[in-house]
Symmetry: C2
Subunit: 409 residues, 2 copies
Amino acid sequence: MNLETCIKLDRRDELADLKNRFIIPEDVIYLDGNSLGPLLAIVKERVNDTVNREWGTDLITSWNKNDWINLPVTVGEKIAKLIGAAPGQVLCADSVSVNLFKVLAAALTLRPERNVVLSSDDNFPTDLYMAQGLTKLRGNDYELRVVDPEEVLAQLSDSVAVLMLTEVNFKSGKRWDMKAVNTAAHAAGVLVIWDLSHSIGAVPVELDHCMTDFAVGCGYKYLNGGPGAPAFVYVAERHQDVQQPLSGWMGHVRPFDFRQDYEPADGIRRFSSGTPGIIGMSALDAAMNIWEEIDVVSVQQKSESLATVIRERLRHEAAFSNLELFGPGPGPEGGSQISMRHPNAYGIVQAMIERGVIGDFRAPNIVRFGLCPLFLSHVDVYNAMNRMAEVIKSKAYEDPRFSSRAFVT
Amino acid sequence: MNLETCIKLDRRDELADLKNRFIIPEDVIYLDGNSLGPLLAIVKERVNDTVNREWGTDLITSWNKNDWINLPVTVGEKIAKLIGAAPGQVLCADSVSVNLFKVLAAALTLRPERNVVLSSDDNFPTDLYMAQGLTKLRGNDYELRVVDPEEVLAQLSDSVAVLMLTEVNFKSGKRWDMKAVNTAAHAAGVLVIWDLSHSIGAVPVELDHCMTDFAVGCGYKYLNGGPGAPAFVYVAERHQDVQQPLSGWMGHVRPFDFRQDYEPADGIRRFSSGTPGIIGMSALDAAMNIWEEIDVVSVQQKSESLATVIRERLRHEAAFSNLELFGPGPGPEGGSQISMRHPNAYGIVQAMIERGVIGDFRAPNIVRFGLCPLFLSHVDVYNAMNRMAEVIKSKAYEDPRFSSRAFVT
């Protein structure tokens, strides 16, 4: 694997031109689009328009005139197309955490005789935390049971109401077989909630086909919706009669009648709560447009191809002898990230950031690179590995400034 | 009350120049800042900077470099100054609805032997809806009791855990006496949650002085934070040991350790849930800066003065004979809005909007004008009343296009 090979691969890459849609500093190789997707030019324009024309000029009339009132559904439908959901099942709203609370509470009401929420101990922490909050609120009868991922299927039983999993693991990149899990869970009468935060925009997802019950996911990673972009929630049509407890006015059947009693809207709208943040949601709305031109299967294929550059170099170069691949990486069993263990992971990531290659660190010892095919080339990945080799050879990671860890998300 | 008087009043107005900070179309008189505050030039600049420099250029490193990680606290502290809260008690987060759920659930755990949530039947509906959602989730023991506002204090008893009120009513503009209510409630062992959505930025609020327990409020009305701007939550220091159930990772003591178990952060941070929307929160952060120059007492005084223009004209002009003042209007017992009943309220509001005067309608028959002193002059209000007189005299409100009501917020 050398530079020439990478140049050739880039020449054959059908997605290569998409990177021109993004505004990324020229001296940066950005391997963290799986944590915060970069800025699309169309998003920059849209935020300008939302702020200046819609808010600044049309003011309050924008709720009708510029259809702010339907934005959660408009964006939801764009997201739906990317995750194999028929219309009417996806809504853009709130954060992943808050949406998870809604669907978990709703799912529990569908299994009133069962009292266990099951999850894996490598699930993304906020999912576990929200389930802890909800089970505690529901009282002593409810229990969050967190087990080793290998044990999950064996733990399905008639006391389990809901199984809650993140499809692609945030550290290892390992991907569950959604259809197989759903089938096993449903056979035991268990409902499943999927967190798609690290799947959407990275790998093909087929929610309806897999008979998925509920899902949530993130707008600021592979969807490039901006920092803290609103999240989404999917509720299969067959479950939409259920009520969720964060029953704010935007989920009311007639919010502007200002009635005293809550009466939920039909369908997915009842999963709305308070007033949505319009600027952030407009940014995500614009960012979704790029998916009209792209097949996510090609995206996944390119991500595998980018990963090959890393895998080959790890295999053959002495500088990387202490780096150990962690998780499957891009491919049928993995998401679009590649994770590596190294005793000096934190320092390596920080030293690389100073050299213009932005990846991230996950405790305790993981270097994580997001291989986002929309804006990365094989040459980018090749050059990033060069930079990493330099950091390791020079021991730049030993810089005392990297001894205490700052927040990095 | 004639034009000349209004011009004189404007000449003496110390807040008159502030309107130059806003970007409002020249042909518009905007009487809906109490529903969606208009765009400040400083906010426009800040959103540009957040999108282009912070997100576009600094990318993921902005969580540290541009202190996104502390933004909820930074904005919270600016809000705190406006509502008489000492530092460490206010956080910017989520929506009013979601924040209300957090504090109501938390408050109930402080009164475990009590099972009633008390509120007034004229409270803002989403507050009632959220309480309905929570009490239903908590089970049959819990009850939301909604009574006539006149009956609220008489209903305080040792079965009531929490009293939940909106300080300034969204329809009538009527204002509760916060200190008196808190005192009566506390004497009965009842905790109080105040919704400040229609108070903050309109009237002086003194949460600590009034011994307030909990409060929530809105960022997109008098704070001019933008459409669907994030909300805020106040928790008195003495109650901050309590846990709220929407326990997402941003409220964890060490979110980036990614531990399996939730351990709440000390203080107000534990009222965070998921990842905050940074673009929207940055807009509100910038909008808050104007309050460093303004005393909210002067704001309230000007609002009273603006209301005098309306009151005088209603009293003396035949065109307004079918308009009936509803609620106290600006003054010691009211917020910064003036509400009027008219059988053709909806048509009047719509016809005025077409003539460049934007107010709003509240079911079933209320014309509501927000008198926001930061950008309105006495002449503006005078001219708005002229426009209203024209609409009423010409019966422009009878236009068949106004027969069916569209969404207006």
